[in-house]
């Protein structure tokens, strides 16, 4: 009998503490509005709730912005950052929009530029129009601004740019008899030639990437101003010459053992950190990951990416990723949110120069690029002033067509390329891919 009583007590205690846990986490996820309501965004006062991801990049940036705003404008200002993966931000937002209840949304959310067009065209009611918010948009790079603009209205405050950089290990290149200059301003033919020598002499791959989400192809396309889309956003996969060339190059690289295909993002990161690859080509935000490898400091250098050979308008510059801040429709204290963004991401040189050394986040706000911090040589990157170089790259990047169905079509083309790699006929596979992509548009 005593045993029974004891077990009942124990179970009761457990159940009680678990409910308490649930209650507790409810409170914290509610963002703790001042009135203690279960709203996600704060319900007024001096507090803002922000969702963003990457503790090495976006999170320190927004926290720095919060600090600056608190010091210079409003000493009662409070900022709550909820770490939310990019995918989770999108899933949560979508769930809110579908149910028509935005109550759990934060005040400000960071979104990938490539996703935003989809969200704003499907759920315009989720975002607040910033056109009349007092934020000066004229100082942002125009190409970047186009991602967050719909029908002439500004919805987002641009944050980092995604200018593509090629990062290489100079010590590995050196072993193969090359310097960073040999690999600057080249085309893909030359790149493959160098890659073969590197593979032969060092056993290392030149690049790596996820086979199921083709970033490299997207970057190659944009470097020539091409894309998977027509001007009206419909898919353009058949008879797209730049695309065919990109697929050829990609195929060649994988066959020659220059490009290491992996299945997941973490494998991609570890292929770099385990020194399986001599380098990587990606949006400059990848540098935050590379800088995590402190023991390789000084061995890395950046340069521009190779350009397409046959395509007419090919350049050595492209873009991948980058994101912008959006104010959700759940934000009760929009004045505070507008003022915060206007005085930090759209108005504080200090912010951009403070976050630069720790995160490497390159802003797209014009005046930031002129700050001295951008000219400073970076020890990790062989004492080169890489940040001003990246700003230069960003200015040279061609723009291209995009679509609300960006990820749908990218997935279709990734699938098609995987099929082609395993021996399927390229032409018919692409025709099928075009049909698949058009199917999603219906």
């Amino acid at each position: 009998m005593k045993k029974k009583l004891l077990s009942v007590l124990l179970v009761g205690a457990m159940a009680f503490s678990l409910t308490a846990c649930g209650g507790g986490s409810d409170d914290s996820s509610s963002g703790g509005g001042d009135s203690g309501s279960d709203e996600g965004g704060s319900s007024g006062g001096d507090k803002l709730v922000v969702w963003t991801w990457d503790p090495a990049f976006n999170i320190p940036a927004i926290e720095e912005a919060g600090k600056i705003y608190k010091e210079t404008v409003n000493d009662k200002f409070e900022l709550e950052v909820v770490e939310t993966l990019s995918d989770d931000c999108e899933t949560k937002l979508q769930t809110c929009a579908e149910s028509g209840d935005f109550g759990t949304m934060p005040d400000i959310v960071l979104m990938q530029d490539n996703s935003y067009q989809k969200f704003v065209s499907f759920y315009p009611e989720a975002f607040t129009d910033l056109s009349d918010s007092g934020i000066d948009f004229s100082q942002f790079a125009e190409g970047k601004l186009s991602y967050s603009t719909v029908d002439g209205k500004n919805y987002g405050v641009p944050f980092d740019n995604g200018a593509v950089v090629s990062c290489y290990r100079t010590d590995i290149l050196d072993q193969a008899g090359y310097s960073i200059a040999d690999i600057t301003d080249i085309d893909w033919d030359k790149f493959i030639e160098i890659g073969k020598v590197v593979k032969e002499k060092t056993g290392k791959y030149m690049l790596s990437g996820q086979a199921n989400s083709q970033d490299i192809i997207m970057m190659m396309l944009q470097s020539a101003g091409a894309s998977l889309f027509n001007e009206d956003g419909t898919p353009n996969l058949v008879g797209n010459d730049p695309l065919n060339e990109c697929i050829d190059i990609y195929q060649k690289m994988v066959k020659e053992g220059i490009f290491y295909e992996v299945n997941e993002w973490d494998e991609y990161v570890s292929s770099i950190t385990n020194e399986q690859c001599a380098g990587t080509i990606n949006g400059n935000w990848i540098m935050a990951t590379i800088m995590g490898m402190e023991d390789t400091s000084g061995l890395w250098e950046i340069t521009n990416m190779p350009k397409l050979v046959k395509t007419a308008d090919a350049t050595n510059y492209s873009n991948n990723g980058g994101s912008s801040w959006y104010v959700t429709s759940n934000c009760k204290n929009t004045d505070l949110a507008f003022d915060f963004l206007a005085k930090t991401f759209a108005g504080s040189e200090d912010l951009y120069s403070n976050i630069l050394p720790t995160t490497g986040a390159i802003g797209t706000w014009g005046p930031a690029g002129e700050s001295e911090a951008y000219q400073a040589p970076q020890e990790f990157w062989n004492d080169k002033p890489i940040y001003s170089t990246i700003v230069e790259y960003a200015e040279l990047t061609p723009t291209n067509n995009t679509s609300a169905y960006y990820y749908d079509v990218r997935e279709v083309i990734s699938t098609a390329i995987q099929d082609i790699m395993t021996g399927a006929d390229a032409e018919s596979t692409l025709e099928q891919a075009q049909a698949d992509a058009e199917f999603y548009y219906q």
Partner: protein, 327 residues
């Protein structure tokens, strides 16, 4: 097998209903004896219904209401949250969707290969561990059951690490001299499917074994002894006694496994991410992608979910009919 709670809920509901009916039956007898005043009977009846109501209400609100809403949603299409009725267009769309058809194929492939392997293994293990003379039975049983206690996501991720190009399995194969360099298990269509099946067998065999063990415990040992005296060997007793007497359990595990496999999601998402080139994507994974990864289409997603529901219902029905021994 992924979500057995629905099944459990029904069982509880059914046993409660049975109790109420038996109350009524008893009541019927007593009523004749004591026509006046139904106090005791009525009280019992009321008590029965009182016990039933909370569970019934919960199931209705938490399960049936969403199901009905999902069905209504499946008849609608629209951009964003603005839906309008379009009849059965979503259902028609399904059969033109190459990726969906592929996911159906994949799911049935898993079903056809994995479920028989798993159930046979489970029944053999149960038979072994039911041996009276076996020492440390408890320990072995726990070991076989333990995989079930792992979270679906974490075990799928661990399998992904094991079978990565520089993972444990590849390292072992290279060190043993069987391979020159790591094989891309998850990047090759057939091997990616095999890895999923291996993972599923590892995760769910112990779970099914427990049901068989419970079933075996209900078989009188004297039946086996009698068979032994009549000269039946191990194989014969297995087919002549164990399997027929376990039949209800086998049918139950079959239905649960079919149901679970058709709703396979975590493994496809976390182990292979549906790749390479959709070679391992399952129906549920594709439904999720349609709703959340792609340009959202919740109506179409619901329609596909209902398609899965109908298939599960049909297969369970066939299973019950085939397994029914009553004439």
């Amino acid at each position: 097998m992924r979500f057995p709670f629905l099944y459990t809920k029904f069982t509880i509901l059914r046993s409660l209903t049975a109790k109420v009916t038996s109350f009524e039956n008893q009541g019927g007898l007593k009523m004749e004896q004591k026509k006046k005043g139904m106090t005791l009977i009525a009280k019992q009846k009321a008590a029965g219904w009182a016990f039933l109501t909370p569970a019934t209400l919960m199931i209705a609100v938490m399960s049936f209401y969403p199901m009905i809403r999902a069905f209504i949603l499946s008849l609608q299409t629209g951009k964003g949250a603005n839906y309008r009725f379009t009849g059965f267009s979503n259902y028609a769309r399904m059969f033109e969707d190459r990726v969906f058809l592929r996911s159906v194929g994949n799911t049935f492939f898993y079903l056809a290969i994995q479920v028989p392997i798993m159930l046979v293994l489970a029944i053999l293990l149960a038979q072994l561990l039911n041996n009276r003379d076996l020492r440390f039975k408890g320990l072995f049983r726990t070991c076989v059951f333990l995989p079930c206690a792992t979270s679906l996501v974490s075990y799928a991720i661990i399998f992904r690490f094991l079978f990565a190009q520089d993972g444990l399995v590849n390292n072992a194969l290279v060190k043993l001299g069987l391979l020159d360099q790591g094989f891309n298990f998850l990047g090759t269509a057939w091997s990616a499917k095999m890895v999923i099946i291996i993972a599923l067998v590892w995760r769910w065999t112990g779970y099914n074994m427990v049901f068989y063990l419970a079933g075996l415990q209900n078989i009188e040992y004297s039946v086996y002894e009698a068979a032994k005296i009549d000269g039946a060997n191990g194989w014969k007793t297995f087919w002549g006694i164990t399997v027929p007497l376990l039949k209800p359990t086998i049918i139950m595990t079959f239905i649960m496994s079919i149901n679970g496999t058709l709703q396979l999601f975590d493994e496809s998402v976390n182990l292979t991410n549906g790749g390479p080139a959709n070679a391992t994507i399952t129906m549920s994974h594709y439904i999720y992608n349609t709703c959340f990864l792609r340009a959202p289409n919740f109506g179409y997603g619901s329609a596909m979910a209902f398609f899965v529901f109908i298939i599960v219902a049909i297969l369970a029905f066939i299973n019950l009919k085939v397994g029914d021994t009553r004439d």
